[in-house]
Structures are given as C-alpha cells and as structure tokens.
Amino acid sequence: MSESQPLSRLFEEKAKAVSAVVSTVTSLEQALAHAVDLCDKKDACQILVSGCELPLSATGEALCETKQQKILAAPGLEPKLFAKLKELAAERGILCIDTGMRQRLGGVDIAFTVADFGIAETGTLVFDSNSEEQRLATMIAEFHLAVLPVSKIREKSFDLEEELLALLQKSPSYTAFVTGASRTADIERVLALGVHGPLELHILLLED
C-alpha cells in the first residue's frame, strides 16, 4: 500500500494531463452511486447524443433518433452489482443495460467498467476487452466511467509485461489500453475530444 500510494498519485497526474477526470472512491457501491449521479447530471435537459443538434445528412439523422432515454451501460459487471446499479438508475429514470449494445449504436450516455490494470507513467487503463459488449459500450458511450483498483497500478508498461503476456496469449483476445478520451487534431491540429469514442473519460481510483 505504501508503495502504491505515490503510484496512484502519479497515475492521477498523468491521467489528468490527458483531460481525464479523476476522483477517489472507497467501495464499489460508492462507485455505482457515482455512475448514476454522473448520468443524471449529464446534459440534464437533453437526451440527444452528441452532434445530433448539428445539421446532418439523412443517414446521420436517422441513427440519432434511435436514442430516446438516458442510458447507462455496464456490461461485464458482477450480477449482484449490476442489480444494485439497475436499481439506483431506475430511481432516476435511467435505463441500465449490460447487453444489446448493437441496438444502441446511436450512442449511450455512460459506460461503467472496472479496469484490469493501470499504468501510472502514462495514466493508462488496461482492459481485457474480449467481450464484444464491453468493447462496444466503451466506444459508443459519451462518457466512459472506469473504476481502477489502486492495487492494480504499475509504474511502467514493462512492469505489466507478465500480466499483459497472459492476456495476449489467450486465444482469441482483445486487449485495450485507454488513455484519456477519444481525440483528434486532424483539422488544423486543433485538439478536439470525442471524435469517434467517448467525449470524456472519468476514472474512479478505488482504494482497495
């Protein structure tokens, strides 16, 4: 613990440097409440997905219309936690799902996940993304909210070599490093967040 303390601080610093929003929680239950809060407060008066307010082509518009309600996606969450999350979400009129992302490709509000590892040096989250639902949720969500247990933080990618090898050697396997929100600088090198994936990345450091 004494060793992971400075690492979590380094992680926080580096993640914030790439515009991630970082806060701390002491339990998964607290993280669930945070997720529902975040979803509730997000664009309080609008359920439209990002970009849909702009003038679009007919096909672009059509996909916008598929979303009618605030949605929180949490694929891969333990059944008990998911049930809890669903309950909390329902109280605020938020739809909580863990499957069927392909029917929601227009977008969902929040993807809630638990990261497998963190790399402090770059503020990176590591996910075993074998599940298609998980992969999709973290791409189509406008905000990605990830819980990272502090004990899973290493300083450098090299320090994770063994664990990564184990992930990559699984057959098949899809593993993702996620650092900050989806970004582009393709127009005049001006940084813009959320070009294809999440507009915001929120990280909850879980002190375990």
Binding site: K14, V18, G51, N130, R135, S157, E161, Y174, E188, G197
Partner: protein, 715 residues
C-alpha cells in the same frame, strides 16, 4: 503525390506550394510547436537509449523476418486467423478483394493505414464495386477530396477549417459552420452509420508480435476499435517490417512512437487483437479474421547491408516534422505516398525511380531528420545514396559528371578556380559579385555572391606560416575550398588565434575539396576518390588534430569518409584514424586551446549565432561556440530557431533557389530580431549565404566566422 516529369516541372510545383499562404503558416506553427512538445514528452528520459532500443528491436526482427513470420502465423492461425503473404502490391489487393467477395461484402470501413495507401487499396476495391469509407477523420477528409495524405500521422494538415467546412457542407447537403469542434461532431455522426452498415473492416497494425500472434494498433480517435469490432469481417494489412519478436519489443516501440510523433506520452488507444474474437453478426458469433502480410520488397530490403535500416521505421512522421524543406512545400511536394525523409527513400523502393528522381534532389542534407528519427535511421545518407543510384541507372547529368571529373584532379580544379577569379574581374565590386562564372542565373539574385579572393589561402600560407618552437601539438589545417579560395581571411584569422598557443600548424598543399559537393550531386565514385586523396594528403599518423573551420567539411571528414571508405579494407583503418583526429574550430579553441576570458579584450559588442547544420547535428557541437562568444567578451543574444538550416546546402541553393531564398529570409528575420550587431557562425558556406542575404537586403548586420571574432578580440 509525384506527377512532375522532370526537375523543371517539379520546380514549378514547388513554387506553387510556396505561394500557398495557409500551408506556409500552418507548417511554421507546427514546426515550432512540435519541437516544444517533443522535448516535453521525452523530458527526463534517456532518449538516445530509447531510440537505440527501438533500432535494436527492429534490426533483430528484420534479420529474422521469415522466422518471426512463421512463429506469428502459427500462433495466429491457432486462434482462427487466416494469414496470407502478398509478395506484391497487386497480390495484396487481389487477396483482400477475394476475401470481400468470398464473404459477400458490400460496404467496407477502414482505419488509417499507410500500407493500404502504399498499395492504393481503396482504388482497387472501389474498382471492384465496393463502397470504401475511411474513418480516421483526416483520412476521410482527404478521401472525400480525392487527394493523398500530406503527413503520415496528420494526413490533412494542409487543409484549413474553411476547406473542411465547405467539404462537409457538400457531404451533408447542409450548411456547416466554420467551427472545428462542431465539424468534428459532424464527422462523428456521419461516420457512425458507416460502421453500422459495413460488412468488413480493414485496419493496419503498428506491430505484429510473433511470440503471441497479436496485432498492436496505435490510434487516437478510437475508430480502429470500431472498425475491428462492428463489421463481421476484419482484414488487417500489415507490412512484414511490423513483425516484432516479443511483447517487450512492441512495448519499447510504443514508448517512443507517440512521443516522437505528436509529443503524446501515449496515444488514446492501443489495441491488441489476437484471433477471431466475439462478433455477434458473424457466423458462429466469431469474427472472420484475415491478416495479409505485405512484402513488396521488404524481404529484399532486409538483406541489404545498407538499406535494411529503413525497415526500422515506425512511421512516426517526425522526420517530416523537422524537415525545413517539408515545412516550406508540404507533403504533396515532399513525398509521394510516404512523406518526409523516409518518404523520399521509400518512394524509390515502393513506387519507383520516376516518382523518386526529383524528390531526392530536394534534400538539403541538414541532418534534422536523422537527429529526431525514432529508430536512428541515417536518413540523409540513404537519400544521397538513392540519388546516386538513380543517376547510375538513368545516366549522370552533365554538370555533375563535369564536377566529378574536375574534382578528381586537384590541380585542374584549383587552376579552374584561379581562372574563375580572372573571368569575374570586371564584375567584382566590394567583395561581392552578381554572378560567379558558373551561376548565370537571375534566380541567384536573392543574395549577393562573393568574389573569388585575389590570393588563395594556399598561396598566402608560405608567408604567414607561424614559427612555433617547442609545440605540444601538431595540427593540420584543412581549409576546404571556400576558405581556401573565397574567404582566405577566415583561415588567416584562425592562424592568428592559434599561433603562439603551443600548437604547430601545418597546411598540407595536396589537400583538395572535401568531396561533399559531389556526394550531394550523387557522384559517389568521385566522392570516394577525393576522400582518399585527402586522407593521403593529411596523413593522420603525422598529426594530433586535423582542424577545420568549415562545419560541412568537418562533418564530412569525420563521418562521411568512414561511410564512404569503411567497407574498403585498404582504407577503413586510416579513415577511422583520420576521423578521430578531425575537430571543428570552436571545439578546438574552447577545449584544446582552452581559451579563457583573460585571453580577450573586453567590449566585443553584441552577437547572435547561427548553428550550422553540420556542426550542431553533424558533429553534435552545441555549447562550444556559444561559450566561446561569452569567453571572448561578446554579448550573446540568442535568436529563434538558431539551429534551423540557413538554406545554403551547397548545390541545393543552385538547384532550388526559391527554397533556399525562403529559408534564408526566415533565418535573417530571426537573427535581425535579436538586435545584435553581428551574426556569428562556424561555416564559410553559411557565411556566404547569410552575408549575401544581408547585403542584398541592405542590412547593417555583419556576418563573421567564429575565427574572425576571436581574432578581433584576442589580446
């Protein structure tokens, strides 16, 4: 893209690019910003060590290419992937089209892949009736505009927000605001349905890890994740050079690539894919996954003793980011598909001599690319080598053959220089001349050119040679042509500084031009010949140091000769001994003579500095000249971009005068902005360029070689 038939057409295109105000400003801003963010990204890291790690990992992989390919294939196929190897671009295109056909594909989404650009994959697939959509924002923009990329990482860097807004208005049939944030969102919404409808996703890969059979993809936008997740078929097109032995090697590359590319510690996403992952709409819920490895000359490159290093390239684009010529003319003119220094080289191998022949002449040999290369590739050397090969294949142009012939015969060369002095007589005025006899071109008018001196340094030497008793060092002076025949006063100044400080100077008369100009013109045989003459003339066993005041000569004597003669058993040892003794003037004055403030008079006025390419990058000498200015009692006023090329580049300024003039204009503006009285530098070539430019402008700023400043201030 290269369409010019000859150098003349190419130059016309360059002039057009120079007139593009937006491009020029965007590139200037980018060049300056990049330098800062790269430095920040590597702060506190052992950059040289990181680069050496990448070079070593990639070299090892290139040597074991086929072995790694089998290892990768076995692992990937065990995970359900079908691995193909395409020997040529056409084969790769056909394999991918066949996969599309076999799977009843209609629509395809792509994530960014330079390898796909290399083989013109989109054209091939569209020709077969498939709808192909690029999903990387920059790639989508240029696809809609039917253009090629102008940067390997930022393909649409040449376009303004206005152009993008117009383009998107056309695509959506709705008027779009000129607001980058909003335009990005429009792309988000317009591209999303494309993923939904696509049956096949095509991606590239940055690494293919043999020990696990996984592909690694580095992306920022996240489109790569959608392309490899939503459609039921995934085809990855991967150059054989992307194979790495271990995950560790791949992680090493990932540590350097984004930092070097954009100054990011890491890209937003790094995605590792192995085998046929879960995919709901695919048969059996498993992705149909093919990997097409592209050879297209890579296997042969791996066996080439000189060029195998190009396979180290990780496509970070940094060699373009720092290139002064790229900065002036942009990627459409400084590359074909691949861009920047590496682009000049790859164009020759992947797209042919016709596309490469003009490009390779446009490198000013400033060494900036080599200095930042993520993989430590000796890019300028390889560019020159290709220039030479193209000349060997297509025939050498007359001026280059002539110069080669003349240089091989020192006496003839020196006689010609002396008679040039006579020919110019009526035109010379105040040390400047409008046209040196060999340059009858109006385009050279952007700077005044100097006259050949009345007496060459070699003719002055017998008179001024200092008598030194009890010398502790034996030093041979190598003057180089410019200081011998144009600026002998600089060499004389050096003699005055060195004399009486314990070093016995010698000026061996058999020395000739260092040979860099012929090497720049692609005359390798003559370059070798002259190198041998000079090593014989300045026998390294006789001297402690070989001192030169010309940064270009120094760097060529020190590094160029070893490259030219290192593989020749009868010369390799002496070339190395010779190189070890070569020293530039500033380092010699500071570190060997150990000149101190007590040696100088106070009140040396103000000066700014121009760092010659071949000194700061060629020899890695950075602090010595700045220290010397302070030691000599001169107030040093740093200028912006001191280490950016002045645009001389020897024959470059004659071939591409309009580019040379632009580089010079920038350099002078930065120097003058310091308000210093004198502009000091360490290379007579730079002096010629800078002084000529200031003279033409009528500027009061004076240009001095470091030796002249020291001679003026020394007690």
């Amino acid at each position: 893209m290269q369409t010019a038939k000859d150098l003349k057409e190419y130059r016309a295109e360059l002039r057009e690019a120079l007139d593009n105000e937006f491009l020029r400003q965007a590139m200037d801003k980018f060049a300056v910003a990049y330098r800062g963010s790269r430095a920040k990204a590597f702060a506190g890291m052992d950059l040289k060590g990181l680069i050496a790690d990448v070079a070593q990992a990639k070299d090892g992989a290139a040597q074991r290419m086929d072995e790694l390919l089998s290892e990768f294939t076995a692992k990937a196929e065990a995970a359900g992937v079908k691995v193909h190897v395409a020997r040529t671009a056409l084969e790769a295109n056909e394999i991918i089209a066949a996969i599309a056909k076999e799977n009843g594909v209609k629509k395809i989404v792509k994530s960014k892949s330079m390898t796909a650009e290399e083989i013109h994959l989109n054209d091939h697939l569209e020709g077969q009736g498939y709808e192909v959509t690029e999903t990387d924002l920059g790639e989508w923009i240029i696809q809609l505009r039917h253009e090629g990329p102008t940067h390997m990482v930022m393909p649409a860097i040449h376009l303004s927000r206005y152009q993008v807004a117009d383009l998107f208005s056309e695509v959506t049939q709705q008027k779009q605001e000129v607001d980058i944030e909003k335009l990005v969102k429009v792309a988000r919404r317009e591209l999303r349905p494309k993923y939904v409808e696509a049956d096949m996703g095509i991606s590239g890969a940055n690494v293919a890890v043999a020990e696990t059979g996984s592909l690694g993809m580095i992306t920022n936008e996240g489109n790569g994740r959608l392309v490899t997740t939503l459609p039921r078929v995934h085809v990855a097109l991967v150059g054989l050079d992307k194979l790495t032995a271990t995950l560790r090697d791949a992680l090493r590359i990932i540590r350097v690539l984004p930092r070097n590319a954009t100054g990011q510690a890491i890209s937003s996403y790094v995605t590792w894919i192995k085998g046929c992952v879960e995919c709901a709409p695919a048969p059996g819920g498993k992705k149909v996954h093919h990997i097409v490895f592209l050879d297209n000359g890579r296997r042969a490159l791996a066996r080439d003793p000189l060029f195998s290093q190009v396979l180290r390239c990780v496509r970070c684009g940094a060699c373009a980011n720092v290139c002064p010529v790229y900065r002036l003319v942009g990627g459409h003119k400084y590359g074909h598909i691949y861009i920047g220094a590496i682009g000049l080289i790859l164009t020759y191998f992947f797209h042919g001599r016709d596309k490469a022949k003009n490009l390779v002449q446009n490198c000013i040999n400033c060494g900036s690319c080599k200095d930042v290369c993520a993989a430590g590739i000796d890019l300028p050397l390889l560019i020159k080598e290709i220039h030479a090969r193209i000349q060997d294949e297509e025939g050498h142009p007359v001026p280059s053959t002539l110069l080669a012939k003349v240089l091989k015969n020192r006496k003839l060369f020196h006689t010609l220089l002396r008679s040039a002095k006579l020919a110019q007589k009526p035109l010379a005025s105040g040390g400047f001349i409008r046209h040196l006899p060999m340059i009858f071109s109006k385009e050279q008018n952007f700077r005044a050119l100097p006259a050949i001196a009345p007496k060459a340094f070699r003719d002055l030497w017998p008179r001024i040679r200092p008598e030194v008793k009890g010398a502790r060092l034996k030093v041979a002076l190598f003057s180089g042509c410019v200081q011998d025949f144009v600026y002998p006063e600089q060499s004389v100044a050096a003699v005055n500084v060195v004399a009486g400080r314990g070093a016995a100077l010698d000026f061996p008369m058999e020395q000739s031009c260092c040979g860099l100009p012929v090497m720049m013109m692609g005359e390798m045989a003559a370059a070798r010949d002259v190198a041998q003459q000079n090593i014989s003339a300045l026998d390294p066993a006789k001297y402690d140091y070989i001192l030169t005041l010309c940064a270009s000569c120094a760097s060529h004597l020190k590094h160029g000769y070893q490259k030219l003669l290192g593989n020749d058993p009868s010369w390799a040892v002496r070339a190395k001994q010779f190189a070890d003794k070569v020293i530039d003037f500033s380092s010699f004055a500071r570190d060997v003579l150990k000149l101190a403030p007590e040696d100088f008079r106070p009140g040396g006025g103000t000066a700014t500095y121009h760092a010659p390419c071949h000194l700061c990058r060629g020899l890695g000498v950075i602090e010595a000249p700045r220290d010397l200015l302070r030691i000599a009692g001169v107030e040093y006023k740093p200028a912006e971009e001191e280490d950016v090329c002045c645009g001389f580049g020897g024959t470059f300024s004659i071939k591409f005068p309009e580019l040379s003039a632009e580089l010079l204009a920038k350099k002078l503006a930065n120097a003058e902005a310091t308000g210093a009285g004198t502009l000091v530098t360490d290379c007579p070539g730079c002096v010629m360029q800078l002084r000529g430019g200031l003279e033409r402008k009528g500027s009061p700023m004076r240009v001095r070689h470091m030796a002249e400043i020291l001679a003026q201030q020394i007690k």
